[in-house]
């Protein structure tokens, strides 16, 4: 019990004193996760939109695969990216392994299917509602897609925030491809794992508190945005 209390007090001190190591890890975490979500959003929204509004043979199978990829184990993705980026891999010559870029790549692969699958469902529901009306107004193709994306914007932002929450909390893939190098690729989740094994519980707990607060803030933001949109725009 004492060790838990000590760890908690130590964690609060690190947070209140804006400890440089702590801030550096938080900064890198956000940098990696936000970059990954930005890229994954572009890929996921485009892919989700295309699948939502197009009809082609094997579409149901594609949707089933897309939905299944939401549950891909992060460590498997980490292993895959590791093999691609390692010196013997096809992309080894770029020297990206154990860099923040490698972590971003792994997180993009992890998050894109989530954003694509959820946005596909959202846009397809909207398309079902809007299709006849848009066709009646002569709105087609890119214009129709733009209308759907804009009118679904609040749901899509919520989906993107869900992706950000997933990215911030992820540990397996970034540990494998980032290597948890101090000051280079050490992010909150990997640092928590390392510091716990090292016995530096105050630092691990302070990172844990910040991580939980970030994830909580993202969820509150998503919920608030949805409530605001429903009140303001119906």
């Amino acid at each position: 019990m004492n060790s838990l209390t000590d760890a908690f007090v130590g964690a609060l001190q690190l947070i209140l004193n804006a400890d440089a190591t702590l801030l550096s890890i938080i900064g890198l975490s956000l940098q990696v996760s936000v970059s990954a979500v930005a890229l994954a959003s572009v890929l996921g929204l485009v892919l989700g939109s295309l699948i939502a509004v197009s009809r082609f043979p094997g579409r149901s199978l594609v949707i089933a695969i897309l939905n299944a990829t939401m549950g891909l184990p992060p460590v498997v993705i980490g292993l895959l990216v590791y093999m691609l980026l390692s010196r013997a891999g096809p992309l080894g010559s770029y020297g990206l392994l154990f860099t923040p870029t490698a972590m971003v790549i792994a997180q993009v692969i992890l998050i894109s299917p989530i954003i694509a699958a959820l946005s596909r469902q959202t846009i397809e529901d909207a398309w079902r509602d809007y299709r006849e009306q848009l066709a009646s107004l002569g709105v087609r193709g890119v214009s129709a897609a733009r209308t759907l994306l804009w009118d679904s914007r609040f749901s899509l932002v919520t989906i993107t925030l869900a992706g950000l929450g997933r990215a911030c909390a992820e540990v397996g893939a970034v540990m494998i491809v980032g290597g948890n190098i101090d000051g280079v690729t050490r992010v909150m989740t990997t640092a928590i794992a390392l510091e716990t094994t090292k016995g530096d519980l105050p630092l691990a707990m302070s990172l844990g508190i910040v991580l939980v607060l970030i994830v909580l803030a993202i969820n509150i933001l998503a919920q608030s945005l949805k409530s605001f949109a429903e009140r303001r725009y119906g």
Partner: protein
């Protein structure tokens, strides 16, 4: 009222010849023949599942016939994108974009062909359309938070602002209270009096009596009666028409 559509006819009369529609191996419409002439008011009646909505969609070019032809006065098939600017459709359940009532109407002007666009005059046309449906006072309010009746009138304004030659209405008062239904009817009568051709499906017989010049009665996808409205309501010629009108088997 929005500018009268009395212009060079690009669409009317619409001609439908031997049209059948089959969906999911079920025949929805079979061997439909009809003509919609300029300036007429036609009401399509029939029981649920008779094919009224599908017929309207064929006329509006949203549903392609499985066989037969549906063409405009110049011979273009009704699904032709060039014709889209010349007609408009009001659906039973209006779809409102997540923006203001004004922007919902403005949106309809932004996808017209260049020849029908009004450039700087578009906002003015939107105001006129909103005034025509009596909603200029709530133009800034989000469309989705309006009542069902108000949303249907916004949808009506969205149709009017395109200055259509013909207006298709698919059970436009089906889910509205009597007051809202009356307001929609006023809009329909106003559009008709300004020269817009009206083609409407409805289950509301009193509305049909007041609006229709002619009746098309559908039964299981076939036209069993196409007569002047007075004749239909006085003495329907088909057994199905009588059953429908009097609500009982004859």
């Amino acid at each position: 009222m929005v500018e009268s559509p009395k212009m060079i006819a690009n669409l009317l009369p619409v001609t439908v010849r031997d049209v059948s529609v089959i969906a999911n191996q079920k025949t929805i419409l079979r061997d439909i023949n009809l003509e919609i002439a300029c300036g007429t008011r036609t009401v399509i009646l029939g029981a649920n599942g008779a094919g009224k909505s599908t017929l309207l969609r064929v006329l509006h070019g949203l549903v392609k016939p499985s066989s037969g032809v549906a063409t405009s006065v110049r011979g273009a098939p009704l699904g032709d994108v060039q014709l889209r600017a010349h007609d408009a459709m009001l659906f039973q359940r209006p779809v409102m974009l997540r923006t203001s009532a004004f922007n919902n109407v403005l949106y309809a002007t932004q996808h017209l062909s260049p020849t029908k666009r009004n450039g700087d005059g578009e906002p003015q046309a939107v105001w006129e359309a909103l005034r025509a449906v009596g909603l200029e006072g709530i133009a800034d309010r989000p469309a989705r938070v309006l009542s069902g009746g108000e949303q249907q009138r916004i949808a009506f304004a969205r149709a009017l602002v395109r200055r259509p030659e013909v207006l298709y209405l698919d059970e436009p008062t089906a889910s509205l209270d009597p007051r809202s239904a009356r307001q929609i009817e006023d809009c329909i009568q106003c559009a008709a009096s300004s020269g817009v051709t009206i083609v409407m499906s409805t289950h509301h017989l009193a509305l049909a009596k007041r609006v229709a010049e002619s009746i098309i009665f559908l039964h299981e996808g076939r036209i069993t009666e196409a007569t002047p409205a007075q004749v239909f309501f006085l003495q329907p010629q088909s057994t199905e028409g009588r059953e429908f009108l009097y609500g009982e088997a004859i």
